[in-house]
């Protein structure tokens, strides 16, 4: 499948991935983040169940301590 991740096209071998699987396959290691799939915010409790499919627009932002 092909998705748009933060405005860039990304290709994966699978037909769909959960958010957790996508994070693992991209080796995104930051702990705190916000993820939206097609504009809908996915809360952290749903990372293991929410699915990303072909054509989805995924936005991710990283949350760093300090403020």
């Amino acid at each position: 499948m092909k998705i748009i991740l933060n405005n860039r096209e990304e290709e994966f071998d699978k037909d769909f991935l959960t958010v957790s699987e996508m994070l693992e396959s991209k080796k995104f290691s930051f702990r705190m983040r916000i993820i939206k799939i097609n504009g809908e915010l996915i809360s952290k409790e749903k990372y293991d169940s929410a699915e990303i499919k072909d054509g989805d627009i995924v936005q991710m932002l990283y949350l760093m301590s300090g403020g």
Binding site: R31, M32, R33, I34, K36, G39, L41, S43, K44, Q59, L61, Y62, L63, M64, S65, G66, G67
Partner: protein, 195 residues
Amino acid sequence: MRFSDIENHLNKFKVGIAGAGGLGSNCAVSLARTGVGTLVIADFDKIELSNISRQFYFIDQVGMMKTVALKENLKRIRPEINVVTHQTVLSEKNITSVFRECQVIVEAFDRSDMKQMFIETVQKELAGIPLIVGSGLAGWGNTEALKFRKIDETLYICGDEMSEATDDYPPLAPRVCIVANMQANAVIEILMSKL
């Protein structure tokens, strides 16, 4: 457009600020100077001596509640500003009632887990209210890495999304104030678009 027209327009609005540390206090000062009518500020902390390195407080305010001291400082800048303070720990339970009347909300927490909880709650419970997040501001230099991103009509992010503040990599005034003012600038942009 003259400054007096800008001030008169901004005077109609209410802006929420979650946290009165480095981001929140400096962002509030810029919003006050520009003319925002009401600031709703929530924080639970007292001012410590170490905060003076980057937060908008003074030595003789050490030990005061941040909400009380910030209100005092904002009133010294613009006496007519309306400052609503909430001396409270923000959580899923009270975020909605504290910020429901705001037209824009600024996320200005220190800890990343609090940032996550706040963003998730505001986006769910106060859907439609634009939220300006600060993330990634520790250290010095690297100004070109600090950026402003619009995710959608309700979510904006300021910072480098990389530099985590730690004891050995502290936040310093210049980058903290740059990000705080990027947030203030985003607030002004959103409110000026409501002309």
